[in-house]
Point group: C2
Chain length 137, copies 2
Amino acid sequence: MECPLCATNRGDLVWQDECCRVITGNDSAYPGYFRVVWSEHISEMSDLDACARRHFMDVVLAVESSLRAMMNPDKINLASLGNKVPHLHWHVIARFADDRHFPESIWGCEQRCAPTRSAPDCTVLAALISIELDRVD
Amino acid sequence: MECPLCATNRGDLVWQDECCRVITGNDSAYPGYFRVVWSEHISEMSDLDACARRHFMDVVLAVESSLRAMMNPDKINLASLGNKVPHLHWHVIARFADDRHFPESIWGCEQRCAPTRSAPDCTVLAALISIELDRVD
């Protein structure tokens, strides 16, 4: 069976380099939900060498910092699961105390109907990601 | 209200350095569940400077590598959530296709009663974590 993260972008492309891409999570309940996908089809962080691990986390945390700056969330959730799609990718999710699952994970039980929030502008988000990465290089 | 991760170890101590500690997850359904806790009370990865972020992830991924070597799991799950306890910590979980929630996250719906598995020997785990960290330094 073809890997869905190899076959397509699987989300709107926000940012990319030669190693990975940032895509929208496409979940209307979570406008601050993005995925960071490693380009090569591997399954675990520890399959990467030390340099690649660090670069990938730099990108993940650049998305985190950018979402904090743009959305001022109550919490950031980070996760690399891949039980259903074992192609290395991170979930970066801006969480709010009044969102659908808070304080549960977004994979837990729904707690409430949530207010609608605007998604961050993806052009601005991409620019902030690049600025954050320049800071850590 | 006092932070539970500041007040106590909150799990059996497996490994520690001056920055962080590895503790058992104490979940009988998940013997390969460990937490990596940053010592200082901060809430997000992006509150750390670049050097500290990298060290913390090196420890998280040393736990991942060690669990893979000791337990040969079907998947590793990594997560930094902190919605209930906003003191920076990572969940590192060895997952098996026949465990209680697979392929859902452990915060999702239970899928089945799971077979009992042995927990890894914490002394061996601590030794492997140190060896892994020596490799990336």
